[in-house]
Amino acid sequence: MSFIICDTISKTYGQGDACVKAIDEITFTVRSGEFVAVMGESGSGKSTLLSIMGAMNTPTSGRYLVDDIDVYALDGEKQADFRREYLGFIFQSFHLVPYLSVVENVMLPLTTTGHSRRVKEFMAHEALAWVGMADKAKRLPNQISGGEMERTAIARAIVNNPPVLLADEPTGNLDTRTSKTIMTLLARLNQQGTTIMMVTHSTACAGYAQRVLKVRDGLLIDTPNPAEAAACV
């Protein structure tokens, strides 16, 4: 049973002669609990694909369904609710709010939920403990390392237990050792049932995925397995 369905999704930017087709009728499905890596060169359209899957970039055509919800048929506010309930984001450059402490950054997705302050704090501390950041909860983002920022970003992405995790180059700014730690965390999350879509340039990171989608010039060219992906990129 497919949990995520991308049905002939296209995305074009600009009009007329300046029209650029970032995604061209991409179709694929993802099962619940699957770990899928999206690989491709810079400008291939993989980040556009991820933003569409993040309910933040309306496709020009095609349908995007998650758990039978036609995401882009929802209005703007419902899309925001969908992001909060279904998705967790991990960004390459962490995207932590600089004036909020680590624990407050993790609590961000819970801000607009009906949970009490105590419950929010409990959930955030749980998530931080899970990524090994419990002892740095009170620090500000500029007081922690890049790896710790990424772990904070992962804690924020999982704090509300979303069924889908979208990761955009999660190890892009990290050294090899830290990247391994982060990927181990993602693999553990996947083992616990979280569906993960990860954009990456790294074949080593793609090796953690069960399946690799390869994008070139906006087209899904094949779906090699992780072992083949290493040869493709």
């Binding site: 933040m56 925001a80 309930e85």
Partner: protein, 384 residues
Amino acid sequence: MTLRDIAIKNLLRRKAKSTFILAGLTIGIATIVAVICFVDSTAHDINTKLEKYGANILIVPRTDSLALSYGGMSLGGVSFDVQPIRQTELAGIRTIKNAANIAAIGPVVLGTVTIGAAAASLAGVDFEAAGILKPWWKIDGESPGPAGVLAGAEAARILNLNVGQQVTIDGQALQVSGILAPTGSQDDHLVFTHLDTAQNLLHKPNQISIVEVAALCHDCPVDDMVAQIAEQLPSAKVMAIQQVVKGRMETLAHFKKFSYALSLVVVAIGGLVVLVTMMGSVRERTSEIGIFRAVGFRRSHVMRIIFMEAGLISALAGIVGYLTGVGGVLLGLKVFGKATAAIHMDPWLAVGALVMAMAVGLLSSAYPAFLAAGMDPNRALKTL
């Protein structure tokens, strides 16, 4: 973690910008509060002085001839040749609807007499009422009895009158019981005596030339009272003394209008400061807003954060602006020697300052908030 926490933390992080917005709004609110306070205290001061002035309604015989002034105020057409007011008619004044507002009724009979070899103006007054009607009178000596006179400063000088001196007025011997300190008014040229005495001397029994009425009129309808008295005295002309204060009140009204207009301009500038600063703040926070939207904040949540920030600063600006405005006026009144003018701490003004500050702050933030809420989260995140 709530939206309010985010708003407060952002304000604390951007101290310079927050202070700038606070200062802009505070100046606007303080200006308005200061203007209102100053105008209020000045108006109150004028009203107090008006009440202290004593008479604020004059009753004179109705006539079409001979303009005369008395006490520096126009009395309309006063003539000694016209049918005078009857003293017995004055009792009707106490029966008007607003009789409770009447503090004193001072009938005056005027006429010319001969003192020694010189002609002089004699005024017969009710000295008890005069105490209320002319509180500025300072008497060297005593208030006269029925057989005494009180000389105005100029009259005493010209007629060479001294306290205790016996004078003969139209053949009747009277004693100068007191001399009036200079008032700068026509009183300085008059010789005063008791109403009955003057009526006898002037051969005007039961006749009254002018009636001065002191009405407690801080808030009373003086025009209504004038109409009510006129109804009781149809043969007399009744008028409110407005000339003295009218000019000042008109000036005050002009100043009031000008000041309010100026204050509105200052508040508008304050609003623009909020608008521009919030716009800048929203642009600076594009990426942050992208994060908020990515983690599931609705547009309304983003708007609420912006409005909360504006609301918090505006509320603070309202309070600080009110205190600054009131403080400024207190200081101004001291510096400009108007210490007698008291400021009335009106709680509604404080509430008004708060409401106005918040209204200006929130209205000025509406567009930036709308802009922030409408931001495309995908584009916002790309700015990172």
